[in-house]
């Protein structure tokens, strides 16, 4: 960040003298603390009664001092107007300014930096009040001479790089026209593309004014694909690049027609100034999909070479001797089947096929070729045609003396039968694809079986001609180059009678390889007019053509240069596209040559100057806001922060560690416990309630309870308490898994849980708890339940409220000697039991008065007895009274 800011200088350094008063501010702040806030407060009398030693002023906090001094510091800095990357104004000239801008193909990658530079130059021109004239190297329109700055700005804003080269002589001509109107020697700034030019151009510029050249050095020059040739393995790519040091590594990419990279290869350029040929090896499948080659990282069209072979037709001809036969035994059927998806196929007699344009010719049945056809065929092969023949019975029967010069090899009469009835040779497999041929790298199929073949007559260079052989080394496919073309012989038929090769997938792959071997028929007519289909725009992407683009007249060949009417791109129709690439028109990529004496040269200004004063003001404002907020509430921050810190640092370890003091205290005396609800008032009430009940128990029974304790289900061990009173409130959290397990264990081993909804009707939390705890089926407390007679004889179980529905575990299901482990109700017993310090009840009971409170206490006594003695009182103690009540 600081590097980005670069050098900071001050426009008004004298303002920094104000920094001297900072210590003064410090002292002032220290002596006069901020004004106290005024608060109206009713209980001010109580405050007045407090001792007066707190009244003295506390010191201004240190951080307030620092904060305010910082505010002052930033204000002073803002006054000094700091500026990063200050560019000193070149206010030496008031002569007219002429801007010459290269906006050809080579600056497409570097255009934004040029636009920035242009803005800086125009800013300076504005300061110096210079007239400005702009000439672009590739543009038909220029600004009308010496327009206003505003017009120049808008012109420059619309200026775009174009994907073709400019004509420098035109610039000089335009410059001369401009100079005619001038009396002064102009200052000429040339934003060069950094490529080598005619020395005449530079000297021409220099003669016409004070020349300043701005360019971005050799490193920024683009690499160019000058030419691409198709080879059997892939492509030969000729790359042009400037002599950069260290030698650059380029990333050659193969794109498909969606501009997706389907293959890429890294290459080091050693000496590419005059062109270096790189070999790209690419699998055939990808090769057939490739639509363009590209040097990664550049957007200029010179770094992209469009391939149009993909669209070039490679028509296939099959020589037809008799009526078309769709029978599976027809050899042509298999060729047709395997090539149909990849090329147009014509079936006709040889004479007709020779008249048409074909790239491959297949002869499956040893047509007798007439002499005049033979000559034409040879000529066709020499021009690049591929003639493929398949063996047949007819061929095998032919006399050996008759030499066939349309075949790569001569053959012996008769057939070689493998694995036949009278042969001891077994059927054999295809063994190897020779590396001379295009089939090399094809996977050798293991299931191809050859039963019959014709044998090649041994020859000195037979092995060179062989593309595929059998396991015993006998040639199966032989080929010979003739001129630009090939003649190829398959020593088996194209039908599956001699071998099952035509049935295998390999056959189709072989046919496709043969297809890609052919260069394609040059079917494009010599003087066709090709209309633009997709052309490059200023961002280097292929777009639909604009109005200026005109048809390409191919007949004139290379004489057409890419320019505004014929920009590089794809021409023709969608089915037959012709690529018009920029690369072939670029001779070399060389850096700017010698500069004439007197012309100044420089690079682009990397950074623009930034005024930092607003930032300083902003920081000061933010600090002032912080100061304002903090002085209002700074102690509240600490109030908020302290619990957060506590949660972070203190409670976490305590969470896992049980509180041993508490456990010891709980274990040493019998105590009732209450679940911590988080609501202070409820907790206090329940504690007071349990203590109130404890007092009653002490007074009336033999049970002596120590004061009740809080029980935190997340931390404490429940097994130390005979009963846990759980007041269920609305805003309680659900229990964690460990707490649930603890409570379940507690209930299973004889603990007792009193769940009191405190008057609420079916709170949502209760059902959730009930789901997670292992509680048996519930039933209302029946009239004969032990609870009604464990100490007092009672019928109702009122608390603060008197609702009837009090639920316990059904006795039938209970495994613990028919003693329930829970009691659920909503009578808010604890509130009825609760007393304050002067033993006055805290809550009124509803609706019944003190008798109801007494009943509540009696229920409490019965409950504790029930918990402590189980169903002991379920037997005969009260039998006489019960008998009496029953009227017996």
């Amino acid at each position: 960040m600081w590097e980005a800011l670069g050098h900071i200088s001050f426009a008004m350094p004298w303002a920094l003298a104000a920094l001297l008063i900072l210590p003064l501010i410090w002292q002032l702040l220290k002596v006069t603390p901020p004004k106290p806030s005024k608060i109206r407060f009713p209980a001010v009398r109580l405050l007045q009664e407090l001792s007066s030693n707190q009244i003295l002023a506390t010191k201004t906090p240190l951080w307030v001092l620092i904060l305010r001094c910082l505010i002052a510091l930033f204000l002073i800095l803002a006054m000094a107007q700091p500026v990063s990357n200050l560019i000193e104004g070149r206010n030496d000239l008031d002569s007219p300014l002429i801007l010459v801008i290269d906006n050809d193909w080579s600056v497409m990658d570097r255009w934004p930096i040029r636009q920035k530079e242009l803005e800086i130059i125009l800013d300076q021109a504005e300061q110096n009040d210079q007239p400005v004239h702009v000439i672009a190297s590739v543009e038909n329109v220029t600004t009308s001479s010496f327009t206003t700055l505003q017009a120049a700005r808008s012109y420059i804003a619309t200026l775009k790089p174009h994907p073709w080269a400019g004509d420098k002589t035109v610039i000089l001509k335009k410059l001369d026209e401009t100079l005619e109107a001038l009396t002064q020697t102009p200052r000429i700034i040339w934003l060069s593309n950094g490529l080598k030019n005619d020395s005449a151009f530079i000297t021409g510029l220099h003669e016409r004014g004070d020349l300043e050249i701005i360019h971005d050095g050799i490193e920024a020059l683009p690499s160019v694909i000058a030419d691409v040739k198709r080879t059997e393995q892939g492509f030969d790519v000729r790359v042009l690049s400037a002599n950069k040091k260290p030698t650059p590594e380029i990333n050659l990419q193969v794109l498909d027609d969606q501009s997706t990279v389907i293959y890429q290869q890294k290459e080091k350029l050693s000496d590419a100034q005059n062109g270096q040929t790189l070999k790209v090896k690419i699998p055939t499948e990808l090769k057939s999909r490739s639509a363009a080659l590209h040097i990664g990282g550049y957007i200029t069209p010179a770094a992209r070479f469009l391939l149009d072979e993909k669209w070039r037709d490679r028509p296939v001809g099959i020589i037809q001797n008799h009526h078309p036969n769709t029978n599976l035994l027809d050899p042509a059927y298999y060729i047709r089947k395997s090539l149909k998806p990849h090329a147009p196929i014509q079936e006709a007699p040889l004479e007709d096929l020779l008249k048409r344009k074909t790239a491959l010719l297949f002869d499956t049945s040893q047509t007798a070729i007439k002499a005049e056809n033979r000559a034409a065929l040879k000529k066709w092969i020499e021009a690049g045609g591929i003639f493929v023949r398949f063996a047949s019975q007819k061929l095998a029967d032919r006399s050996v003396e008759e030499r066939d010069d349309l075949s790569p090899v001569q053959w012996m009469q008769g057939l070689r039968t493998l694995g036949g009835a009278l042969s001891w040779e077994r059927k054999t497999n295809l063994n190897v694809f020779s590396e001379n041929g295009p089939f090399f790298e094809l996977e050798v199929p293991s299931d191809v079986v050859i039963k019959k073949q014709i044998l090649a007559r041994p020859d000195a260079n037979l092995s060179e001609k062989t593309w595929a052989r059998l396991q015993d080394g006998t040639p199966l496919i032989t080929a010979e180059q003739r001129g630009k073309g090939w003649q190829i012989l398959f020593h088996v038929t194209a039908a599956p009678d001699w071998s099952n090769l035509p049935l295998s997938g390999t056959f189709e792959l072989m046919m496709m390889r043969l297809l890609s071997l052919s260069a394609g028929s040059a079917i494009l007519d010599a003087d066709a007019k090709l209309y633009p289909y997709r052309i490059f725009d200023s961002t280097g992407s292929l777009v639909a053509p604009h109005g200026q683009a005109k048809a390409l007249e191919i007949g004139k060949g290379k004489s057409i240069q890419p320019n505004s009417t014929t920009p590089p791109g794809l021409y023709g129709t969608e089915n037959a596209l012709r690529a018009f690439n920029l690369g072939p028109f670029i001779d070399q990529v060389a850096p700017l040559g010698d500069i004439p004496l007197g012309a100044s040269i420089r690079g682009f200004s990397e950074n623009q100057q930034h005024n930092l004063a607003p930032w300083c003001l902003l920081i000061a404002l933010i600090l002032a806001l912080i100061d304002w907020i903090a002085t209002l509430t700074w102690l509240r921050f600490s109030k908020v922060l302290t619990p957060c810190l506590l949660v972070l640092f203190i409670t976490h370890p305590a969470f896992s560690e049980p509180d041993w003091d508490k456990a010891l205290a709980a274990a040493n005396h019998m105590r009732l416990a209450y679940m911590v609800t988080g609501d202070k008032q409820i907790d206090e009430t329940v504690q007071r309630g349990l203590d109130g009940l404890g007092t009653i128990l002490k007074r009336r029974t033999a049970v002596e309870l120590a004061p009740a304790m809080a029980f935190d289900p997340e931390k404490d061990d429940p097994s130390l308490f005979p009963m846990i009173y759980w007041a269920i409130t609305e805003d309680q959290r659900e229990l964690s898994d460990t707490a649930q397990n603890r409570l379940n264990q507690f209930l299973q081993t004889g603990g007792f849980l009193l769940m009191d909804t405190m008057g609420q009707d079916k709170p949502a939390l209760l059902s959730k708890i009930a789901k997670n705890l292992q509680i048996g089926d519930l039933q209302p407390v029946s009239e004969s339940h032990v609870l009604t007679r464990s100490f007092y004889l009672i019928k109702q179980f009122p608390g603060r409220f008197d609702f009837n529905d009090v639920w316990v575990e059904a006795a039938e299901n209970s495994t613990r000697d028919r003693v329930s482990s829970v009691l659920i109700g909503k009578n808010a017993w604890a509130q009825a039991w609760a007393r304050d310090d002067s033993l006055r009840p805290l809550y009124a009971v509803v609706p019944g008065g003190e008798i109801q409170r007494e009943q509540a206490y009696r229920f409490g006594v019965n409950l504790v007895m029930y918990i402590l003695s189980g169903n002991y009182k379920g037997d005969q103690v009260h039998l006489p009274a019960i008998m009496q009540r029953l009227g017996l």
């Binding site: 603390p33 901020p34 004004k35 106290p36 806030s37 005024k38 608060i39 109206r40 407060f41 009713p42 209980a43 001010v44 009398r45 109580l46 405050l47 007045q48 009664e49 407090l50 001792s51 707190q54 009244i55 003295l56 002023a57 506390t58 002085t631 509430t633 700074w634 102690l635 509240r636 109030k639 002067s838 033993l839 006055r840 009840p841 809550y843 009124a844 509803v846 609706p847 008065g849 003190e850």
Partner: protein, 293 residues
């Protein structure tokens, strides 16, 4: 706020409670009749019991319908019913017009709600209510409640520094409910209470405070100003005196508690962040059950 609205709020607070039944045990028979059964026969509207007709009684007292069912003559007796007058007083002085947090009601608002809620309960229970310092005689029914509400409404807008009830001549053995913040000097409060106590008036005091007055939640340098011209006081760091203040407030409250106990009165506290119902319940309890006496 209109008086109608205040009544509505007050009744809402009181709606969860059963009709207030005041035990008028020590009250002389001079008071007007109400709907509260004295659990003995007397004058009243509700049926108490049938008893056999004794010779010498007026025959007009015979319940002929009941007598026709049997061989004997029966007299219908009614439950003896009396009503009690409860005098209410609500502090509306300047110190009550305070709320530290805007979301909470002012103390005076809460105090009036409680006064009216209590009045509403009492009226529903058939008691007579009267406002201390109001020249109108005690009355019952909705009309008395509405009059009370309109007077309270008027009083709230008056600027007053009177934070203790002025001395009034009350009948003996009446119930008096005082609702306010009781932040005046303790000796003044004591004097005011003792004046009533000498007349055997039984009182209930409810201290209504804002939570800020309980906890003193301020920080830093603060100049505190009183609302009733008590002057002001400045603290350099309020946090340091917070604990002292709380202790002071508790001491004051304990002193008040002691004072009321010694007079045989009841003392309750309430902060405005708690629902009004709880305070009303406490008052209700002490009025119906006579506190801890």
């Amino acid at each position: 706020m209109s008086s109608q609205n205040t009544i509505h709020l007050a009744e809402e607070a009181a709606s969860n409670l059963p009709p207030l039944l005041v035990e008028a045990d020590r009250v002389a028979a001079t008071v007007a009749q109400g709907v509260h059964g004295r659990r003995k026969t007397g004058q009243g509207d509700s049926f108490w019991q049938f008893r056999p007709y004794h010779v010498g009684e007026s025959t007009r007292r015979i319940d002929w319908r009941q007598s026709a069912k049997t061989q004997h003559h029966f007299v219908r007796e009614y439950e003896w019913e009396i009503a009690q007058t409860v005098w209410l007083w609500c502090d509306t002085s300047a110190s009550m017009h305070y709320s530290e947090n805007r979301t909470r009601p002012q103390k005076v608002h809460r105090a009036q709600i409680l006064t009216l809620g209590l009045a509403s309960l009492l009226v529903r229970g058939g008691e007579q209510i009267a406002l201390l310092g109001d020249p109108n005689p005690a009355g019952g029914g909705r009309a008395a409640l509405h009059r009370l509400a309109s007077i309270l409404d008027k009083k709230r807008d008056e600027e007053s520094y009177l934070s203790l009830p002025a001395h009034e001549h009350l009948p003996r053995h009446t119930e008096l409910v005082l609702i306010g913040d009781f932040l005046s000097p303790l000796d003044e409060i004591e004097e005011a209470l003792k004046r009533y106590s000498r007349r055997h008036v039984r009182g209930h005091i409810l201290q209504v405070l804002d939570p800020a007055e309980e906890t003193l939640p301020f920080d830093g340098r603060v100049q505190f100003e009183g609302l009733e011209n008590e002057g002001s006081i400045y603290f350099g760091n309020v946090q340091a005196v917070r604990e002292d203040y709380r202790a002071r407030l508790n001491a004051r409250r304990n002193a008040l508690n002691q004072l009321t106990h010694s007079l045989g009165w009841s003392f309750h506290r309430h902060t405005t962040d708690h629902p009004a119902g709880s305070a009303l319940l406490a008052l209700f309890q002490s009025i119906t059950q006579g506190g801890m006496r």
